[in-house]
Symmetry: C2
Subunit: 299 residues, 2 copies
Amino acid sequence: MFNGLSAFPLTPLVQGEPDEKAFGALIETLVAAGVNSVGALGSTGSYAYLTREQRFAVTKLAVSAAAGVPVMTSIGSVNAEMILRLAEDAQKAGVKGLLLAPLSYQKLTADEVFRLYERVAGEISVPLCIYDNPATSGFEFTDELLVELSFLRNMGSIKLGDLPADLAGASARVAKLKSQVAKGVTIGISGDAQSAMGLLAGCDVWYSVLGGLFPYDALRLTQAALRGDVDETRQLNSALEPLWVFFRRHGSLRTIATVAELTGRVVAPCLPFPLQTLAGDERDALQATLAQLPLRAEG
Amino acid sequence: MFNGLSAFPLTPLVQGEPDEKAFGALIETLVAAGVNSVGALGSTGSYAYLTREQRFAVTKLAVSAAAGVPVMTSIGSVNAEMILRLAEDAQKAGVKGLLLAPLSYQKLTADEVFRLYERVAGEISVPLCIYDNPATSGFEFTDELLVELSFLRNMGSIKLGDLPADLAGASARVAKLKSQVAKGVTIGISGDAQSAMGLLAGCDVWYSVLGGLFPYDALRLTQAALRGDVDETRQLNSALEPLWVFFRRHGSLRTIATVAELTGRVVAPCLPFPLQTLAGDERDALQATLAQLPLRAEG
């Protein structure tokens, strides 16, 4: 399941509670488009803001609406005991993969992160994706640690954070990682603005925010990149550059949530308090940008 | 209550559960020493790693063991609804103050932080201390925002993070803040290695990690600084410098937890998994340092 396009939908909230109808509709669009997997309750799905009960309910809904398309869900928590309970819940709900970032309150050491993954890996029965996201977790993985972790049992994929900004540097890092990690562990790219480059650099999968709302467009780019069509990949990515400008400026979550509100896919305000979608001039500018983009909500 | 020495004890854990006996004994030492307030469940008390139920139980125990000394407890959570529930619990348990850092998963904007404090301040009935701790919250307060927040209702104190490294710079910042914040809101210093300077620079209160384990020593330093005895303050602080070296290198939590284990005040391992106290050479070096320090666990 850790190949191709893994689409990460929002978990739209209404007064702090998941909007099941809007969420189910997002998943159905992903299935209709033919994404390779659904990343429910990723960072885009606001997993860190929800209770265990909410996460269980959303995961069950995702698996049901995904109608056989494999679902991965995040089990991240600052509390290690809670991670194990969330993993149990997710597996009971029928997920085919788990996603784990090393959340903490105190900055973790590499040794502590290894112990955490080792313990979790020993208690799960579906593959785990290592989630490298320094901006939210506060932890910076070294490639050495990623390689070491990949040899734990039940490891399925590595969701990379930042890659070198040039294609040659990115390709070198991805090639080296792929030559060192355990057999069968795929390398994925996240951070949508760099993902076209990441796929061209050899990543196996795009863990995609855009794909969670516009799966047709994200699939087209993914497929062009994975078949090695550099020109088409660059063309498709260039067309999205005006959107990446907002991703860079406001983060992917606030941007894609604003897009979802502006296009009526979710009810505003859809983010967990106190997070705010864009307002004022920036919201207007994003709306104007959207009108110029070739994005398609339907097939 | 937001004056003098506010002592922050560990919440010692045994297999993930608070060790009530060891915790109660820590609090009793604080009371015997005569600290001005107890900061239960601060960062040193691992609040962010505990469940709501555990936090309620620990807070009740703290209030009971504190025997009239005012207790403050942290209500921080990534989940805003949970913050309000934790505030209710803490007030029901009898705390005289609340401590709140702007925890988040996604980096917050200043506007979002203001909305968060505004909402919480409107629903509590004891004073709140604003907790500035970029290393754990990921948010950097500006003085402008701190001043703005101080005018919300129910604000009691500001627990500052980093101060300028020189006394003149620190004094200038503290003086300016004190001249601008709402009347009655005190300014406190945290980060033990800089706290002697912070108190000499005009802070009203030391939110102290050392004070949670060695209240007699922390009180002596606090009292010297607050009566303006620069020489004695510097002398007492210099004597502690070998300990501050470990605070800077490993963080205050891992250091003080190791000290508590080494001195038999708590059962090892006392931190929430996967956090580890110091091991190997560093643990030995800390033990050797401790033997040279004039710290007193009893009066």
